[in-house]
């Protein structure tokens, strides 16, 4: 039943996509398409929530589409339902935002048809119950989002981003294809139900796991497979960026969890170490690169890499716990990971919406050209601030809760029986702690440079507040950030059937606790209560303010900036994005970044201005992709000669190939 309703929603979205081709030229068209997407996503969201609360057993559905005679299998179990919630929460918010934001679209025909199709693709991945429909849906999702990345294809950097995205997406799908091929086994039964009944043996299982890590990891943005992400996510229109960063990376996480926790069975115990090591590195590198960015949307995209790292730390911990039969701890770690999936989809969408509002209002994405927007866009500034606090994992908002749960999971890991993970996990814990603090620095910079200070350009000075629909979408998400942070127990309850079905245990029931406390293991071990913290903060802050205003003075005078007596009217004297990040660049510069600083100092007597260039490169390009790309280029240049041979040489080539193949066949037999 839930699968049927969800499939109808997807069908509606696909129909919308087709209708949008015709409707894109009209002004109502955009409203209708986004409005329709909003309704369909809300319906699918309701399906997900009801399935999670209801807990009805999942019933498989076979539709007579896809491969002839075999059909396509769909099913909504707890895991699918949870990711339906994540996908459609983001999807509905993006649709609502799109109603307002889409009006500014210059080429609606390049966006409108693909938007509902993209939503439909992501939903289909979560619903698919066989390898074939999973891969078709996965590719559909990739290609529709590629079309959206290319919406503004005239910008050369967008074309490059689209190209790299396409290459990485194909690579990822190839890895998944091979993984499913191994899972299907010699019998070739491609339905998930069949894979569940006979798990592959351990070596095959390990290869499947590695392939899943490559396939899903490249879509999610695990270092070093992340390089396409900071290029492609910012290139799309902002509501699509929100979906790509907030939702599609989570669908990739879904793919990984589905394969590793559901289909593979028990992988070898040390496989968790690969995941943990990659995740730990991803977490810190993601946030450090985010700190170095000046483009607001690119900063957000890089920061997604960090959050994917945090999610994968949770998943890796769950794998390690499962391998040493600590199912209760695996439940805690997996709950933390899934909670962070939900949280990140909320605040990352919110922040991308905010950056879209800013770039619409000013035409700028470069933070060095912004500033002072809190005065011109006060409402956006509030919503964006809530997103920044939430993503920096600060109490009492939601980002903190999931990180706190991850820390709690790390703190029970000395009980793991194998030594490998026990040596690795403290290091991962240290990396997670480091990334949490760096994230705060990153978002102080993002918010401080963009919204605070004095406007650096006239575009920032004359910006106007964004429209009502966009604001509504942002404030709904901001409210969710607060609510999820204050009553985390409800979310844990929502996630518990998922965790129960995957690791056979769950976190202790949270619903009976007074004041909606959160207790991961036992009350004597640790507890956190967002509600009391919030109430405490609110009451002590109010009491203090009232006390001061009543018993001291309220006298206030407005005056010029003091600045130690030497104020300078030029906004260029403010700290900029690069100067803010400079100390951290210095600290980590030699080890982590590929920083090139060039100082052009004019000779004495020369009146030219001195220039200072800083270029921060992602070492993944220099050491990973660069050599590969150069190698491919060299080989192809060499092979290029083959295109200009005479007919005689071609015939010889064909003949030689034939002989070789025949020899191979002969040797094989």
């Amino acid at each position: 039943m839930p699968a049927l309703v969800a499939l109808w929603c997807i069908a509606a979205l696909l129909a919308l996509a087709v209708a949008a081709i015709g409707a894109a030229r009209t002004t109502v068209g955009s409203f209708l398409v986004y409005g329709g997407s909003l309704i369909a996503s809300l319906l699918a969201l309701a399906v997900g929530v009801i399935t999670l609360i209801d807990g009805a057993p999942a019933e498989p559905m076979v539709l007579p589409v896809g491969l002839p005679g075999l059909g396509a299998h769909f099913r909504v179990d707890a895991l699918s339902a949870f990711f339906l919630v994540v996908a459609n929460l983001g999807g509905s918010a993006a649709s609502l935002y799109g109603i307002g934001y889409g009006r500014h679209e210059r080429t609606p025909l390049r966006v409108l048809p693909f938007f509902p199709a993209y939503l439909a693709g992501m939903n289909l991945v979560a619903l698919a119950d066989d390898a074939f429909s999973f891969l078709v849906a996965w590719e559909f999702m990739s290609l529709s989002s590629w079309a959206l990345v290319m919406a503004n294809h005239r910008a050369p950097e967008n074309a490059r981003a689209g190209y790299i995205y396409l290459v990485m997406a194909s690579f990822g799908t190839l890895a998944l294809l091979l993984a499913f091929g191994l899972l299907a086994g010699a019998g070739g039964d491609y339905a998930f139900a069949a894979m569940r009944t006979h798990h592959p043996e351990q070596t095959t299982g390990l290869i499947v796991l590695l392939l899943a890590l490559l396939g899903a990891g490249s879509k999610a943005g695990l270092v070093p497979l992340h390089v396409w992400l900071p290029l492609a996510h910012p290139a799309a229109p902002s509501h699509v960026s929100a979906l790509m960063s907030g939702v599609m990376t989570k669908i990739a996480v879904y793919g990984f969890i589905r394969i590793v926790f559901d289909l593979v069975g028990e992988p070898v115990w040390w496989s968790s170490m690969i995941v943990l090591a990659l995740a730990g590195v991803t977490t810190v590198l993601g946030v450090l690169y985010a700190l170095m960015q000046h483009d607001l949307k690119r900063l957000l995209a890089y920061h997604t890499v960090e959050n994917i790292g945090i999610i994968f730390i949770g998943i890796g911990l769950a794998m390690a716990f499962r391998a040493s039969n600590m199912n209760w701890a695996a439940a805690l770690a997996l709950t933390a990971a899934l909670f962070h999936v939900l949280n990140h989809s909320i605040f990352k969408s919110l922040l991308f919406f905010g950056s879209g509002a800013v770039s619409n209002a000013t035409g700028e994405r470069n933070m060095e050209h912004l500033g002072g927007l809190i005065h011109r866009m006060p409402k956006t500034a509030v919503a964006f601030l809530i997103g920044c606090v939430a993503i920096s994992a600060l109490p009492p908002l939601n980002g903190f809760v999931s990180e706190w749960l991850t820390f709690q999971a790390i703190l029970v890991s000395p009980q793991i029986s194998q030594w490998g993970p026990r040596f690795l996990i403290p290091a991962v814990g240290a990396l997670l702690a480091l990334s949490a603090a760096l994230a705060a620095a990153c978002f102080v910079k993002a918010y401080g440079i963009t919204f605070l200070g004095r406007p650096r350009t006239s575009a920032a000075e004359t910006a106007n507040e964004t429209d009502g629909f966009s604001l509504a979408a942002m404030f709904v998400l901001a409210a969710l950030c607060v609510i999820l942070g204050v009553v985390p127990g409800a979310v844990v309850e929502l996630i518990s059937p998922v965790v129960q079905s995957l690791v056979g245990a769950r976190m202790p029931a949270q619903s009976y606790l007074p004041w909606s406390s959160l207790i991961p293991i036992a009350e004597s071990r640790s507890s956190y209560n967002g509600l009391t913290v919030l109430l405490f903060l609110a009451s002590s802050g109010t009491v203090t303010a009232l006390f001061i205003h009543r018993f001291a003075t309220r006298a206030t005078r407005r005056s010029a900036i003091w600045d130690c007596g030497y104020p300078n009217a030029s906004p260029a004297t403010q700290y900029t994005s690069s100067s803010f990040a400079m100390p951290i660049r210095r600290v980590f510069g030699t080890t982590v970044f590929d920083v090139r600083e060039v100082v052009e100092m004019p000779r004495p007597g020369d009146t030219r201005a001195a220039r200072y260039h800083v270029k921060v490169l992602d070492p993944a390009w220099r050491y990973g992709y660069g050599p590969v790309a150069r190698c491919v280029l060299r080989t192809t240049t060499k092979l290029n000669r083959l295109q200009f041979l005479s007919i005689r040489s071609y015939l010889t080539l064909v003949f030689v190939t034939l002989i070789l193949l025949l020899l191979m066949v002969a040797a094989w037999r």
């Binding site: 702690a433 949490a436 910079k445 640790s526 100067s579």
Partner: protein, 318 residues
């Protein structure tokens, strides 16, 4: 009735930290002045300073936003709540379960986040330099602080501060390598987080060497009073944390009789005063560091605490 007593005990703790915080500052300043062969201001001078600032007119820049005006109250509230959550004279107070040690570290980070934003609000170079450096220090100090938290949590088997203090006060924890490393790291962090020498100088008048002071340079009047009070509270918090994590002796645990509470209170004040005397002695003995040497100092703290956690992962008996 029992609830009223519990509530009163919690309120007493909130008021105790608030009342004692400026005194700590007064003691450190007095001792420091004596060490420099000056007479120094009286012990209660910080109270007078706060009172004076509160009654002064607040001067705001024309382009100061609501963040600039709200941040001092917010920072004060966050620091006060965090300080009230650290057990001082007794464990297991009414709200001790609402946030654990990790949440406490994060609460302080929330306050710092707000203050760093406020530093950038008006758009001056000094505000920016302060915010940027503060976040750089925090990005190295906070993870180390979390690792210290992990160390004590792994030994005590809980992250609840009250339960940790109780374990350390009553159970036989003994001398441990990991605790020693954590103690060293904690002292270094407390110095960095409270903007003391050698990381920062609370009494500096040279703007380029300022970190915390540069960030709040534009503040005046009651807003400045709030920030100064928050800074004093933060120092009190770190002292209390030191007392309850590393020397929790005398703290009232299960026995909540008036005598036990009185002993707890006396022990707490004794420990705090001792720390307030030791801090300036340490400060006068060393010189301030260059900004780009901070990572070495803080990296040392990070490495020490990481080593402590690592040892505990190898064996609980370290």
């Amino acid at each position: 009735m029992a609830m009223m007593i519990d509530l009163a005990a919690q309120a007493a703790q909130m008021l105790l930290v608030l009342a004692i915080a400026p005194l700590i500052l007064g003691i450190t300043r007095k001792v420091k002045a004596r060490l420099l062969r000056r007479v120094g201001p009286p012990l209660w001078q910080p109270y007078l300073d706060l009172r004076k600032l509160m009654h002064k007119e607040a001067v705001l820049a024309h382009n100061a936003s609501w963040i600039y005006r709200a941040a001092p109250y917010f920072v004060f509230a966050v620091t006060w709540v965090a300080a009230a959550l650290v057990p001082t004279y007794a464990t297991n107070l009414m709200f001790s379960w609402s946030a654990d040690l990790i949440a406490l570290v994060a609460l302080l980070a929330t306050g710092r986040f707000a203050l760093a934003l406020a530093g950038m609000d008006v758009g001056t170079a000094f505000g920016g330099i302060g915010s940027s450096r503060e976040m750089m220090i925090a990005s190295l100090a906070e993870p180390a602080m979390l690792l210290v938290a992990f160390t004590v949590a792994l030994i005590a088997g809980t992250t609840q501060l009250s339960a940790i203090a109780e374990t350390f006060a009553t159970a036989d924890v003994g001398l441990r390598v990991s605790l020693g490393l954590a103690l060293g790291a904690f002292v270094m962090l407390a110095i960095a987080e409270n903007a003391r020498i050698p990381i920062d100088n609370p009494a500096t008048h040279l703007e380029l060497t300022m970190v915390h002071e540069a960030m709040v340079l534009e503040y005046s009047g009651r807003h400045l009073a709030m920030i100064e009070a928050a800074a004093a509270l933060k120092l009190a918090l770190y002292f209390s944390l030191f007392a309850c994590l590393f020397v929790p002796f005398g703290i009232a645990t299960a026995d909540k009789s008036p005598e036990a509470l009185a002993i707890g209170l006396a022990a707490y004040i004794g420990k705090i005063v001792l720390l307030a005397v030791l801090l300036p002695i340490g400060e006068t003995a060393i010189a301030k560091m260059r900004v780009f040497r901070y990572p070495i100092f803080l990296g040392g703290a990070f490495a020490a605490s990481a080593l402590a956690v690592f040892l505990l992962f190898v064996s609980r008996s370290f």
